[in-house]
Each structure stands twice: as structure tokens, then as C-alpha cells.
Subunit: 202 residues, 6 copies
């Protein structure tokens, strides 16, 4: 051994990609959203297809789908998996454009990061397409709204819960029903209390 006294035996890794090989292969889905806040004139230009750089939503949609496939390449401890489906939706309001990304797979680990990455990159693309018209834009409210599969079953975010620093919840898409199944409520509480291996999934 070393006679210098400086031998450093690094413990089993500070950062590590946790082992999902013992987990069950099941169907998993996640829905994430993001908003690009902008001036009223800008969202109007997007809605009218009058942004000179191109078709904003079409380009952002493709960028979001591609980003869902690249999440493991961007997020270091994210496990690679085979994305089975990706849907990207937009909603244009006066003061913002909202992106919703839904990702599904049949695998050992969830697609939460794939959905969040898809929503984030779609938002960044909208920003890139519009920035010559609007320098005030802010991307925000990037969060997970729904997640199924694995041990926890169904998880849905409460739309009445404030986002970020007391931001207004805004006006959400009616297609997302927010009633929680009472049986799942109990499971959710139990899951969130401890350190579930299922939550360790990348």
C-alpha cells in the first residue's frame, strides 16, 4: 500500500446510476408540462403563423419528440429505455404557450425525465423561434403532472397546488381530470413517506 498516507479509497460512488435490473417490466407513462411566458403580440404572431423563422409549433413538436429519445444522453444518471410513444400538445393563451408532453414505455423504469425533457426542449425551441420578436420571454412551470406504472400506481399533481413561487395555476386543459382514486391515495402516502426503490428510477 501507499507509504504516503494519502491513499484514498473512494466509497461505492458518490453519483451512480442505480440498479434497475431487479425491477419489473411494466407499462409506464408520464405527462409533463411547461410554459413559455411572452408578450401578447408574440403569442398572437404564433397563432397566426406569422413568425418569420418558421412554423413555431411544428418545429417545437419535432424537437420535443426527439428530446424524449435523448433524455439518457442529457441527464447523466438517467437510465436508457425504449420510448414507445410520444405526444406533444400545445395550448396558446394570451400571455403564454403551454406545452404538454406524454411519453409511454414498457420497461423497468419510468419515463418522468423523458416527459420533462421533451417539454423543456419544446419550450426552448418556441423561445428560439420567437426571440427576435420578444426578448421578455420566460420559461416556467416545468413540472410533472401525471405518472403511472411501477409500485406507486397513479400519481397526479393537484392543480390547486401553487407552482414555483406562488405562480397562478392558470387555466388547465379540461381533458386532464383531477379526481384521485381513494384507494390510490393511501398507497401514494405510503410510497412518498419512505425511500421507495421505485422512486429511484431515472
Amino acid at each position: 500500500m501507499s507509504d504516503r498516507g494519502l491513499t484514498h479509497l473512494d466509497p461505492l460512488g458518490r453519483a451512480r446510476m442505480v440498479d434497475v435490473t431487479p425491477k419489473e417490466v411494466t407499462h409506464r407513462r408520464a405527462i409533463a408540462r411547461a410554459r413559455v411566458y411572452m408578450q401578447t403580440e408574440t403569442s398572437s404572431l404564433v397563432a397566426r403563423g406569422a413568425i418569420s423563422k418558421g412554423d413555431v409549433l411544428a418545429v417545437a413538436r419535432v424537437a420535443g419528440i426527439q428530446a424524449a429519445k435523448r433524455a439518457p444522453d442529457l441527464i447523466p444518471l438517467c437510465h436508457p429505455l425504449l420510448v414507445g410513444s410520444v405526444f406533444i400538445n400545445f395550448r396558446i393563451e394570451d400571455r403564454f404557450i403551454e406545452v404538454e408532453a406524454q411519453v409511454e414505455t414498457v420497461d423497468r423504469t419510468g419515463v418522468e425525465m423523458e416527459a420533462l425533457t421533451a417539454a423543456s426542449v419544446a419550450a426552448l425551441t418556441i423561445y428560439d423561434m420567437c426571440k427576435s420578436s420578444d426578448r421578455s420571454m420566460v420559461i416556467g412551470d416545468v413540472t410533472l403532472w401525471e405518472k403511472t406504472g411501477g409500485r406507486s400506481g397513479l400519481y397526479r399533481r393537484d392543480p390547486l397546488e401553487p407552482l414555483g413561487a406562488d405562480a397562478l395555476p392558470g387555466d388547465f386543459d379540461g381533458s386532464l381530470v383531477a379526481t384521485l382514486d381513494p384507494d390510490l391515495d393511501a398507497d401514494l402516502d405510503a410510497d412518498l413517506a419512505g425511500d421507495e426503490p421505485e422512486e429511484l428510477e431515472a
Copy 2:
């Protein structure tokens, strides 16, 4: 030609990567920020280095630097350029962790998207590292704070300007001085009024 009446001559591209070849090669810099809002217990765990998945800030920093180099691969109309430097800084507060990404280059086009992408991916990585402990997290306030180079000279965001949907400005890093040069003010107004080719940069 077609006898069907369906010949469709597509105009010079709805989406296009605009030509930067006539632009001048100059030094350019951009600073962008993002916040990951979380529970107080979570930011405390990060500050203490007690997140089991690993060293949160170290991993997020590397992910952010790598993302700055990949922006043209993620954002379809973003021009490739040679990133000359990348700095990623963090600030841990009770309710959020703030990421600041600074990117520099000597090239024909600005590094605004590189800085925003770096900040976004660093934020997504913090989220990924902490999500087993905190399912309430929201990424927000992703925006450009400063930009230099090209025709517009210096641009700085006014810290008193609300972000997103009336979010509180929060507590910003004192190293960013917000006084604007009166001469630049005039240039900025002139630039933002019209449709400057310089703003078309990806």
C-alpha cells in the same frame, strides 16, 4: 408538369436556419438562469450533500456544460458554433436552487440558446437527482439575463421586471450589477423596435 392541378411549389421554407455567413465574427457572451423550486427539506439535503443518488451540484454542473455544447443538436434552427467557455454556478436557498450559466464564443452568432439550454439541463439534472425525495419540484424562471456582442451591444434584464405569471423576483446574486449604460439604452431601444437581422441569430 402535373395535369392533376396538385403541383405544390413550396416557398423558400417555412422553417429555416437563417444565414449568418455575412455576419461579423466577434466575441459574444450570454448569461441565463433557471430555478428548481423544492421543499425546504430537499434543498437542505442538497446543501448537506445527503442526497443518496449522488453529488447533486457536481453532476448538474457537468450536465450543464455538456448541454451548452449540444444546443445545436437539440434546437433545430440553432446554428452550430464553437463554445469557447462555459461557467455554471449555483445558489441554494430555502425554497429553490438557482442555476446560472455563462457561455462565451468568438463567432458569427450569439450564445443565448447555449446558455439557456445549459441552465435548463442543469435544472433537469437537479430534478432527476432529487425526485425520489421530493415530488413537488417545479423548474421555472428560465430566462436570459445578459447578452453581449453583435450589433445590440449589451443587453441586461431588469431585475425588477416580473418573471412569468407575476412570480416574485426573488433574491438575486449581487455580482450582477443592473445599472445600464445610458448610451446603450438608446441603442437598445432602437434595436428592439425594428426587425434586426442580428436578432435572427439562433
Copy 3:
């Protein structure tokens, strides 16, 4: 909601990566071909190993194999899958070099795009290796010749069917037998008539 009348609720995605999670995991294979038309002197140089840029077929083969693995990264709505095998073959004739790419997998979706992308990139690489000697080159006849797996069973292209704008079928490799199984004929007709989910695979 918006008081501006410009709220735009985007339908369930114009472009989407369709859901393959309900599909069955089976063995799937596809064979695609492409041709690089060139001057007689050029194909002669390739056959003699006299192209100064390097060993044309060796480099093109590696490029084709790598491209089969990258198809989901290039084709936006292409599903990621795990390629199980890739074979790249060449045939040098007077006026062209023909590439044949065979790809196999055990997965929920077919490898048609993987095979076509492999053949296309191998052809582009042959072009790149030879272009200093021959500026007349054209890549053509890029098409699927065989596909197995999934609901449709076996599909084979009829070699007597013209390719493109009445191009001559050329002289095909005897190892590809073109007789169709009469039972499969019936299935094929049934499959191609309707809108089979199996055909939606990327």
C-alpha cells in the same frame, strides 16, 4: 379563458410517435438496397482499391452499420429499438455499386427504417469517398426489398416492378429468391388493403 378570441387548443398532435406499447415482441427483419451510379472508371478504381481517400467499401460498411443504430436519432417519428444484427453487402457493377443492408431485432416494431437508413448512409459514404474522381454520381433505387415479422408476415418486393421513374431493374443478386409463398400472397393483399397498426411502426 382568453378574452382575445385567439386561444388555440391544438388537437392531439399533428406529428406523433405512435404507440407501440401494445404490440407483440417478435423477431423482425428487413432488407433494403441502394445504388450509387457512377462512371465506369470510378467503379473500376473502387474494385481495384485505387481510390486515394481510402478503402471505400470498408469505410462505407462501418458507416452503414453505425447508421442502422442511429435511425431513431435521424428520423423524428422512428421508435428506438435494440438492433440485434446488421449485415452490409456490396456488389460492384460497371455503372454502379449496389449496397444491401439487412437488419434484425426482437422488438415491438420493425426495422424497415433502420435498413433503409443503413443503405442510404453507406451510399452517401461511397459518394464521399469517390467524389474527387467523379462528379456525375447519383444515388438511387433506395428501397425496401424484404420485410418479415409482425402481423403481415413476409413481404418481398417484386423484382420485375419498375423502380422510380422507369429505371431498369438491373441485375439482382441471385441469393434473393423472389418466389412468393401463395398462402402469404393472400395475407399480403389483406394486410395492404386496410390500415394495419403494424404498418404504423416506425
Copy 4:
């Protein structure tokens, strides 16, 4: 040295990325085209926006622009360069859809492969979007139509020159004027006769 008699001193590389460091940095441009031959019903569906998988041309356009940036990653001996602009155009006819890709840069080497790769990948994407409706498709006529910059000056393909195996030239876009500058004619002949280092550019 070896006493086995099997020492193999490999010469200066069979395949190599030739040195462009001595070359001049100039403006360079290339235009390439590709065609996707299909059934009349299919091109009609594309023109009407009735392909269920999505907006065919919008997705293909983004894929083509991204592919222009990735050419050095796909084509082994292709030099990396900074793409300055990319335009992708489409022309829908009864029996085919034609893609035209124009790429520009200011660099030491030309963008011929970038334009060809963009056209090829856009064509592959059109194929992917339409394949559930049409299994007869063939990608062909992938070739360089114009190239400027470097020593050779301007190069334009003669539209009367047959493509591939006697394919009909088709009906070309009137925006491409085919008159050649007589002075350039002389240069072109001189260039094409010998082995110009300029032509070795990737």
C-alpha cells in the same frame, strides 16, 4: 524488431481524413436534391395534409436541417464545419415529392455532403411518414446540383444529363438557372481533369 517475420508497418493510412488546414476560408454553398417516388394517391394525401402520422413536409424539413448539422457524425471522412444556413424546399408532383437542400458556410471545406445528407434524410423521413399508406416507394435521383466556393468556382449540373439508369430528368424548378458563365467553363474543365486537392474536401 519482431523475430516472427510478421511485423506489419501500416502505411500512412488506407482511409484518412485529408488535411484541410492549408486551405482558404471562403464562402461555400451547395444545393442537392432527392426524390421520393410514390403512388399518385400518396402524394395527394401529403398535399392535402391527410397523412395520419403527421405533417409530412414540416417533419421532413426539420429532419433535413438537423441532418445537415450531423453529416460529419455520419460520414466517417467528412470534416466537421460550422453550417451557416440551411434551406429545405419541397415540390409535390403526381408521382414523386422532390426535396431540395441548400447549405452554406464560411470555412475551409465545402458543404456538398451536408447538402446531400440533408436531402437524403428528408427523403427518408417522408418515406417514414407515408409508409403505412404506400409500400411501393423508392428514393432516387439523389445528387448534387450546384456547388460554389473554393478553387473550382461554380459548378452546376446539366439538367439534360440523365440521372442514374436513364431516368427522365423530370421537371425542374425554374428558380435554378442553368446558364454557365463561359469563363468558369474553362476553369471547370481544368479542375475536373486533374486531381485537385480542393476536390478532396469532405
Copy 5:
């Protein structure tokens, strides 16, 4: 056929990604190591966290984890697979830093190349972080130490076996027990003698 006599029918590929589709899906693991030999002062700087470029081991760890996911993109005939876990460990000695990479998966093929690539890239990153302080560095002793799964069962390298050109075995981590199971010994000999398809895995 050709009248030139130069028709070249390429046999079933000189280089090919061999078919793993018939293989069994099982749990597989591999452990690889690498060393970065350096001056005593340099390893001391690393241990003290005094390398100005940054936190050497933290950055190298992330680079190694990312590289494990990219092995199929770097090694042409390497099969894509879904990495299930990655651990990177370091050991700092006077004259070298040792990297150990462990990779696991549940798939048809082994993760030997994933582990070796992870160890190599982590070593290259350590080199990159330290090179301004030490130009004498050498990366060596990159090899596979353990492999499980597939037909061969367990394989472990004999620590008394010399590495490379008679390098000293060094001082290995006590957590790796080197006793071999006598039953496995017999299997190993049988496996290594012939040409097992299991060994053809990428």
C-alpha cells in the same frame, strides 16, 4: 451482368454485427479497470482537490457513466443494449489513480465493452483535468476483471497474471475476492477452448 469481368460479389460482409437475436435474455455484469499513471505531486493535488480545472473525480465519474451508455455509438460492431446500472470507483495511489467501472444489464449480450469504455473515458477525463500540471501521464492497464452472465458463467482475471508488458500487478482493492469456484473453472476451460457464440457478443 457485367461484360468487364470486374463484377465483385462481396461475401457476407467482412465486418458485421453478429446476430444476438437467438440468445437468451439474462442478467449480465462486467467490471473493468484502468489506471492513469502520474507524478506523485499530481495525485496529491487530486486527493487534496487542488486541481484548478475542477473536481477531477466528480467530473470523471460522470464522464464514465455517460460513456457506458455510448459504447454502441463509439464501437462500430458493439450491439445496443439498455444499461441497467453503472458504478464508477476510484483509488488514488502515489503513482496512479485507478478507475473501476461496473456495468449491469438484463439483455441478450454482455456489457464488457460498456465497462471498458466507461473506464477508458473516465481515465481520459482524469488526464484532461490534470494535463496542465503533468505532461508525463500515461493511461494503462485497461482490462476486464470480471464478467458474469451468458453461457460462460463467471469469469475473473487472475490478479497474479501480468498486465501488458510485465507491469507490476499493483495493489488491488480488497473488495474483489479472487477465489474461483472450482465448478466454474471447468466450464471456463471448455468455453475458452472453442468458438462459443457467446463470446461473439459485442
Copy 6:
């Protein structure tokens, strides 16, 4: 500010991509080598072209060239640059195959990591091609042999200097002359003594 006392203002980044924008654009070159130690039978198989997986050196060469272009994607703090040329050479000896990678560019920063990455990946590819025949292989002696450009001028490794843990220098390629220019000796010593910004290049 925070009332918790846990506010953590992270200093200007533990890991950072140092700024090269003030540096001069000059011609730069680097030569790196690596060895794959193997059994005599294995190197004999490679020399005879009898490795069933394919043409070992051809595949390894392409992998090395591609890796030179990807160094900034693998090594986190490595600056992106435009590689101008890549040469990969091999030397087969009884007990090892040696790879030599030479990379050139005209840019603000050196290509040391590009050359080392190319040599390492070429070595990993040789390993991958041969591993079914030889499980004893070790990659070693990965180091920089020559570097030019920037402030330091020429740097050459002394071939008599031991590599790694007292490995024998081996038998080096006669095309690399090892005599150092006496004037450069003095410059080298001066450079290596202090902390030259030039050495901070990625």
C-alpha cells in the same frame, strides 16, 4: 436572503470549461499512441485477416477517426473545435498492436485530447473485434508523443522515458525521430515550470 443560514453561494465553478476566446488561432497538431497487448496467436490472426468478426484494422481506423471528432462530446471540459485532419496508423508486433493517431486543426486550442481519444477508441475497437479469441488482452501505454502549436511550440516525449509502471519502452516506429532541437529544449523547460494558460487548453 435566507433566514436559515444555509445560503450557499457557489464560487465561480468547481469544474469549468476555461475561456479560450482570448487565445490565438494557429495551426496545432498532436500525436498519441496506444497499445493492445495480446497473445501471439491473436496478433497473427489479425495480420492474416483471419478474425471472423471482420477486418480489424479497417474498422478500428474508422472508429478512431470518428472518435477524434467526438472528443468534446465525451470529455466534459474539452472545448469543441473543427478537426482539420486525422491519420490513424497501426503496427502489428508479436505481443501487441500499436495505434498511432495524428490530429491537426487551425484553432484556439490544441488537439491533444482528440488524438488520445482517437487512439483509445481505436484500441477499444481492436479489443472488441478480437475478444472472442483472446480474453487476456490489455490496453496500455496510452500517451501523448508529440504536440505542436500554441505558446509551447514543439513537445516530444522522450522514448527512453518509462511508460506506466516501468513498462519496457518497446520498439518504436522509425518514422518518429526523437532528437530534440536544443533551442526548443530551453523553451520547453521554461514552459513546463510555470502555469501556462496555454496548458489549460482542453
